[in-house]
């Protein structure tokens, strides 16, 4: 087989053994965290870890909705936004995280919703401007190559699709997918940040023998850095799951999400345990 004809290996197949091993690692990490934590704060630490895992899963699942076009989309040969998964997830999700961080003082629910809206808004603006550039700048209509009719509007796609391409532009379903993806990823990133912030606010003052006000910059900075780190880990793992381009929720590659959910849960648990160890050890 020549190097040019070879395709990346990752197919849609699941690997049940590896997923089982992944879930076992997850349970071991959660158990280890429970036993390492001091007796009186076990439930709090455990709830923080579960929040982090939930946030990571939201990121991993949400990124699948985002229409990623990569280099082919930049040439108008595939639908989606013309950049990689990791960059898009970072753009949409971190915008959500910053939005949520502003609302952190108003309670978990408000902050998570704000983070979700921040991410969704960022993706909506991105998707709209991408379509502006496609339609008015490059002169190409939006057409999906993966489905005959748009699942939401029912518009037929084949007439608008150019020969030799996989579709182009950003069809309505991809736009909606992008917004949903931004919502989930932004909410997930914010959830991780809030969980860590609460933990650090509660534990750092005794650890460093200082008041909560003095410690606040460090708590915010550490929670933010850990949230950004976990966000990037989760989004890159999801990018590896998608391997390149995806059109949105109607793409056949979307069915790979269970793999990503397991991987994100294990990766978040691992990073979460490390982030918790810094204060409970």
């Amino acid at each position: 087989m020549s190097a040019v004809a070879a395709k990346p290996a990752a197919g849609g197949a699941m690997n049940p053994t590896a997923m089982g091993v992944g879930i076992v690692i997850l349970l071991i990490l959660v158990g280890a965290c429970y036993y390492i934590a001091p007796f009186d704060s076990r439930m709090m630490v455990l709830s923080v870890l579960i929040g982090i895992i939930l946030g990571g899963v939201l990121i991993g699942f949400g990124v699948h909705f985002v229409p990623v076009g990569g280099a082919p989309a930049a040439m108008g040969q595939a639908p989606g936004i013309a950049t990689g998964v990791a960059m898009l997830a970072a753009g949409g999700g971190l915008a959500g995280l910053f939005g949520g961080a502003w609302a952190a003082e108003q309670g978990t629910v408000v902050a998570v919703v704000t983070g979700g809206i921040g991410g969704g808004l960022m993706m909506a603006i991105t998707c709209m401007m991408v379509n502006f550039i496609y339609v008015f700048g490059m002169g190409i209509p939006a057409a999906s190559g993966k489905v005959k009719n748009d699942p939401i509007t029912g518009d037929s796609q084949a007439e608008f699709k150019s020969q030799g391409t996989e579709g182009h532009g950003l069809p309505f379903i991809s736009f909606v997918g992008g917004v949903i993806g931004g919502l989930l990823a932004g909410a997930g990133g914010t959830l991780i940040y809030l969980m860590l912030l609460d933990l650090y606010k509660a534990t750092l003052p005794t650890m460093m023998q200082a008041t909560e006000t003095q410690i606040l910059p460090i708590a915010i900075s550490m929670a933010g850095m850990f949230a950004v780190g976990m966000f990037l880990v989760n989004s890159v793992l999801t990018a590896y799951n998608i391997t390149g381009t995806i059109e949105g929720p109607h793409d056949p590659k979307f069915k790979r999400w269970p793999r990503s959910v397991v991987a994100s849960a294990v990766a978040s648990a691992l990073c979460g345990v490390v982030a918790i160890l810094i204060v409970v050890m």
Partner: protein, 282 residues
């Protein structure tokens, strides 16, 4: 099945670069401990040298990994490197003098598990994946630790979180004037993440040569070092920051001229342009 598109032809083997990068950055990180021994902060620039060494190793690892068409773009490798590295590095700083060693072990464990997840659970099946993600996590941790040393003067948790501000001649402890409290770590994070992924992203293709890419990495590393040196004026004494700045500028000027020469050499030698392999982006 995955086929490797570009093979390392000639040049230094990857294991040599890995060993050299690991040892040099570890030694540089420990040399910066002279700050504590002497009580002065003049040795902070060793952090910057550790950054450059780790980045050179990391960009070659990215080359090894991304030569298999992973389909997600080269920047994603830099992002996961620092995403996992920052987590390991922050916990490792709690261990005092052992911090660089702990960072190495912890980052390797995190990278190993992430590599297993991507290869088995996500079904990537890329032979170099596990080793590369392990190396990249270590590189990320070392780079951030190097920046922490350079900007804040040390790699322990106390140095990272506690600074001092001078008001009317009185020196008061402050948590905001520190590497972590002032969130300078966020800037260091992206300085490193861009410096690690850019060289291979810029040099890849049929005309790739190892020495040119590594020289570009050194150039990016020294450029980041200049930025970090400017930021370090806020936290370490001006003399120490000035030493870092001068070393950064000299290193950058040298590596930039060398890179320019190498680019000219390779441009003139590029006689047979091969077709671009189309494996990326599927």
């Amino acid at each position: 099945m995955t086929v490797k598109v570009e093979v390392v032809e000639g040049g230094v083997p990857h294991t040599t670069i890995m060993a050299a990068g690991l040892i040099v950055s570890l030694i540089c990180l420990y040399l910066s401990y002279l700050n504590v021994i002497t009580g002065k902060e003049w040795f902070s620039f060793f952090g910057g040298l550790a950054v450059v060494a780790a980045l050179i190793w990391g960009s070659h690892t990215i080359k090894v990994l991304c030569s298999y068409g992973i389909g997600t773009g080269v920047p994603s490798a830099g992002m996961i490197s620092f995403g996992s590295g920052v987590i390991a590095m922050l916990l490792a700083t709690k261990f005092g003098l052992a911090a660089p060693i702990v960072a190495l072990v912890l980052a390797a464990v995190i990278g190993l598990i992430l590599g297993y997840l991507s290869n088995e659970v996500l079904n990537m099946k890329i032979p170099a994946m596990v080793q590369s993600l392990t190396e990249l996590a270590v590189v990320g941790a070392f780079t951030l630790m190097g920046f922490a040393v350079m900007i804040g003067g040390g790699f322990t948790f106390a140095t990272l979180t506690t600074g001092s501000i001078t008001i009317l001649g009185l020196s008061l402890p402050s948590y905001q004037a520190s590497f972590l409290g002032g969130c300078l770590i966020a800037v260091a994070f992206l300085l490193g993440a861009i410096a690690i992924q850019h060289p291979f992203n810029a040099c890849l293709g049929p005309g790739w040569t190892q020495d040119r890419m590594l020289m570009l990495t050194a150039e990016c590393g020294f450029l980041s070092m200049i930025m970090a040196a400017v930021m370090s004026f806020a936290l370490v004494p001006a003399g120490a920051a000035l030493i870092s700045l001068i070393i950064g500028i000299i290193g950058w000027a040298y590596s930039y001229t060398k890179y320019f020469e190498l680019s000219k050499r390779d441009a003139a030698a590029w006689l047979d342009a091969k077709p671009i392999p189309d494996v990326e982006g599927h």
